[in-house]
């Protein structure tokens, strides 16, 4: 029992990171290059923390409010940003993240400024986080299997073709932003009620890089991508203490190597190779196989 309890904080970190990674994956999957997850998470976290500490709301209500707030922020941001593409979107969302940080620093009377909000009562344990992560993972998985997932895939691969096939790019981009905002808001709220303190720098540029790293390493398509990415980047350096000191350097090298050699990410490459193997097997057994291109 002792053995497990010493790893509980690590499990918390893993599950929170997983949630943010899901939020980042939704947008990338739909071909939206947004890094706004950090901004949404910050809004969600402050929302919960302020409601609990200042207004004395119960934790579940505060987290629900965070979820709604994140959703609303995602939807609002999607209205102007669906017009932009690629790098422009990335820069605009980065500007959004910076504005959120600057506002949190500026509005000292509400957010505590640079000192942030401290001594938030801890009301979210590993169990709640696990439940939230599983539900989010299931939603992602279900979405991937549904029409929304197929539309996202089509848009991500070739926007023009998707538009010609009758997929409303504006609508699906808005949807991706909204879902991303909802997930980030939810996990932001959970994080603030899990870790006692909250400062504007918790969701800064470093956070943006980390979350992008999870998806790049894990993969952008399958729901397993974030799980693998987060596991690879958070658990490995934690478990092997010798590497912990060089963790950022290892992260950087892994990001470059994965992008160059396995551009789909670890999980997606593995799934793809499994599918290929299966298909080849069918070919050998079944003889002629017409619908091999799926």
């Amino acid at each position: 029992m002792n053995y497990f309890s010493q790893y509980l904080p690590l499990a918390d970190i893993f599950l929170l990171a997983l949630g943010f990674a899901f939020s980042q994956q939704v947008v990338l999957r739909a071909g939206v290059f947004s890094v706004a997850t950090a901004g949404f998470a910050s809004l969600g976290a402050y929302c919960s923390a302020i409601l609990v500490t200042t207004y004395g709301w119960p934790a579940p209500a505060a987290i629900a409010a965070s979820l709604l707030f994140g959703t609303a922020a995602g939807w609002c941001l999607s209205l102007p940003l669906a017009r932009l593409r690629g790098i422009y979107q990335a820069i605009a969302t980065l500007a959004f993240v910076q504005v959120v940080i600057a506002v949190m620093l500026f509005a000292t009377s509400i957010t505590g400024g640079g000192l942030g909000i401290n001594s938030i009562p801890k009301s979210v344990g590993t169990g709640t986080l696990l439940a939230a992560a599983i539900i989010t993972g299931y939603v992602m998985f279900a979405m991937q299997r549904s029409g929304i997932g197929r539309a996202f895939d089509a848009i991500q691969q070739e926007e023009t073709v998707a538009a010609v096939l009758g997929v409303s790019i504006r609508r699906y981009h808005a949807l991706a932003f909204t879902i991303s905002g909802a997930i980030a808001g939810l996990f932001g709220g959970l994080q603030s009620l899990n870790t006692y303190t909250l400062t504007p720098s918790s969701f800064s540029f470093t956070f943006v890089i980390m979350v992008l790293g999870y998806i790049v390493v894990g993969g952008r398509r399958s729901a397993w991508g974030p799980v693998v990415g987060v596991a690879f980047l958070t658990l490995l350096p934690e478990l092997s203490r010798g590497l912990a000191e060089y963790r950022p350097i290892v992260t950087g090298i892994v990001m470059i190597a994965v992008m160059i050699f396995l551009p789909l990410g670890l999980a997606d490459t593995f799934i793809l190779s499994l599918k290929r193997r299966k298909r080849q097997g069918n070919l050998v057994e079944g003889g002629t196989h017409v619908r091999s291109a799926s």
Binding site: I87, Y88, A95, Q98, I209, T251, G252, I256, M259, I260
Partner: protein
């Protein structure tokens, strides 16, 4: 009083321009946001610091640091970007952001280890500390050096891109890599050259900025990276004169905001401005769509 503030703003803006010029050059040729630019900038500043503390004069150290910046930047091109060019452009755009980000993390953390996470300073009197009075305004020798360097870099880039055969090749690759290849241009060499020049510029900027604020730390590039985003968007993505104008406008606006507004507010205003420009006129304030395509934008 206000004249002095505006002059200070122009100088702050020139400092941003120093940093942003190399960044814009790579963006205009490659359509790649080189996120490791801040890392290269830091490496050069740190390199100059080590040379100066081991007794080399600042002038020699500055030249060596600029070259070091060029070499590091070239290495980034070879390691992190060359192999990505086999992907289609929209995949490459994303992949390049990630690999250069990775390179930046690696460089910054090596710097972090080297300096033991400390902020280091040049010894006092490394650069002649002279002040001039110009029409009642106070300006230091170093500030004049910054202004002159920005002017020289801008002239050099314009000359290099539009008046030399090498610049012609570079523009050819920027407008269509395939066509340029058919004309006998080696794109890899051109890209390497662009990165080298961009790195040299980052190096010069690193030394001058380190001297101006007299502080060098592993993370010194980060605030400039964020400002460089604002500047290249304002100036029109890929437009080189636009970048300098935007940098100076940004410097003046920032200085005036800092003087006349409560602390903390300038950041909100400046980043909101970036956001608004991207929404209303993504081609930037100075750069028309045509101006961008001259320097090369694969639409």
């Amino acid at each position: 009083m206000i004249a002095q503030q505006i002059l200070n703003g122009v100088i702050t803006g020139s400092i941003y321009a120093l940093f942003a010029l190399g960044f814009t050059l790579v963006f205009s040729v490659h359509r790649v946001l080189n996120l490791a630019h801040g890392g290269v900038f830091m490496v050069s500043a740190l390199f100059a610091y080590y040379l100066v503390t081991s007794g080399v004069s600042i002038w020699v150290a500055a030249v060596a640091a600029a070259l070091a910046g060029g070499v590091v930047s070239g290495l980034i091109e070879i390691v992190a970007l060359r192999r990505l060019r086999r992907f289609p452009p929209h995949v490459m755009e994303f992949a390049a952001l990630i690999t250069t980000l990775g390179a930046d993390i690696v460089i910054i953390n090596i710097g972090h280890k080297l300096t033991d996470a400390q902020t280091v300073r040049f010894p006092f009197g490394t650069f002649p500390n002279v002040f001039f009075n110009l029409l009642g305004l106070r300006i230091s020798f170093l500030q004049i050096a910054v202004l002159l360097t920005v002017g020289a870099m801008l002239l050099f880039l314009m000359y290099y891109l539009y008046r030399t055969p090498v610049g012609l090749k570079l523009r050819a690759v920027a407008s269509s890599e395939k066509a340029a290849r058919l004309m006998g241009v080696n794109p890899d060499a051109v890209y390497l050259q662009t990165f080298f020049i961009s790195g040299v510029m980052a190096g010069i900027a690193g030394v001058l900025i380190a001297l101006s604020f007299n502080s060098i730390s592993a993370h010194m590039g980060e605030p400039y990276m964020l400002k460089a985003f604002v500047i290249i968007v304002l100036g029109g993505l890929g437009s080189i004169p636009g970048c300098v104008m935007a940098a100076i406008f940004f410097g003046v606006a920032q200085t005036l905001c800092v003087v006349y507004l409560p602390p903390g507010a300038p950041d909100i205003i400046l980043y909101s401005l970036l956001f608004l420009v991207l929404l209303v006129k993504p081609s930037g304030l100075m750069g028309s769509a045509a101006a961008i395509s001259i320097v090369g934008r694969r639409a």
